[in-house]
Symmetry: C2
Subunit: 256 residues, 2 copies
Amino acid sequence: MCQLLGMNCNTPTDIVFSFSGFATRSTEHGDGFGIAFYEGRGVRLFVDHQAARVSPVADLIKHYPIKSRHAIAHIRKATQGVVALENCHPFMRELWGRHWVFAHNGNLVDYHPRLHGSFQPVGDTDSERAFCWLMQELAKSHASMPPVAELTLTLKELVPQIARHGTFNFMLSQGDALWTHCATHLHYLVRRHPFGLAQLQDQDMALNFAEHTEPGDRVAVIATQPLTTNEPWVTMQPGELLAFVGGEPIGVSAVG
Amino acid sequence: MCQLLGMNCNTPTDIVFSFSGFATRSTEHGDGFGIAFYEGRGVRLFVDHQAARVSPVADLIKHYPIKSRHAIAHIRKATQGVVALENCHPFMRELWGRHWVFAHNGNLVDYHPRLHGSFQPVGDTDSERAFCWLMQELAKSHASMPPVAELTLTLKELVPQIARHGTFNFMLSQGDALWTHCATHLHYLVRRHPFGLAQLQDQDMALNFAEHTEPGDRVAVIATQPLTTNEPWVTMQPGELLAFVGGEPIGVSAVG
């Protein structure tokens, strides 16, 4: 199984700390990795067929603090599709003049949706097929970009049609919101004032966020498994879809 | 004006040497840079709003030999559009299940084509509008991916319709061929057996390709201005469109 990491903030924030812990997990997930950062409407997408633990590209990300309001990362353990660059998540497509980024953890069995629109897979994974189908159906549902709340309603109709084919944990963003869907394992945490010390689970590294933040900052971190040992991670429920905006899930009270 | 660099090879080759010389030119072209590498159907796309001369991302590329058969790089001097990540070339879109990559040097005046299809600009440059229009018209001209020769014919019909709006030097690839169009300045060079010493124009750096190649290797390098001082660069003519495949322009005898 792959692992997912997402970040959504109300102010551009770097993901160096969380990514450092996350990248350590690639010992068991060594078939490539990828990470996408939004900067306004622009996206930086880094993918590598090497494990995040050893990749020079991952090394750059651990040392170059790219400040972003939405980031999605993925480390891959191949279940379907060969180990090749075109099968590395996140995937990206343009719709309504915005870049959409998608990463999936899980396995969709015999999933071959009818892709009759403008979105065709480049690689040969179930994940990219699911993304192309989502983009196709979103394009059919709205003539131009609707507000986040409306997109969330459309996704709530579409996602179960994919999820019944297998395990469908995913993260999706278009630069305004970050949607996460839990099928089996997904956890999130909202960091806000008063900030404190966070201790990484995967390596001996701690960071006092009080020294790196302003009182108004709010950062949501979403991951397959909790990344820190001393913070109140919330377990998402199977079938739950959340839209994160400005560093917290919409319509759900955030944890302090 | 921006500058373009392209590479097309018959065997995966790294672009470290050419990019090192090219990146030096960002002193005068300091509004961001980008480079795309094909690995099979997969693409690595690196963009940065910082000049290639100082960017940590450019530094990675100068030291991480990514082997590719098609690469397109661009350093930007903003003429239209703000300095922002979404305006950095190369741009990328998917069509017929392939990633297409495009970079432009020049300026299209009052160019606002009718974009009624599935390709909408994310940023606000004339260049991305031209790319979206090209993708839209290619999608209308062919139901699925045609052979390179047929695509070249279609491009020869489409490109003049954009070129009459201003200066339209560009590079385009979908991972099988690399097309270059010259409006004002574009030069190319084919390196093949017997390989020799190449001396960079922009910095005191030389490389003996005989030590790094096999006799069957063939590499075409295309750039706004010649990158080396002692090799037989060919000047492209205004209005000329070439398709490079396997390290040489199709239908044109390569230079030794």
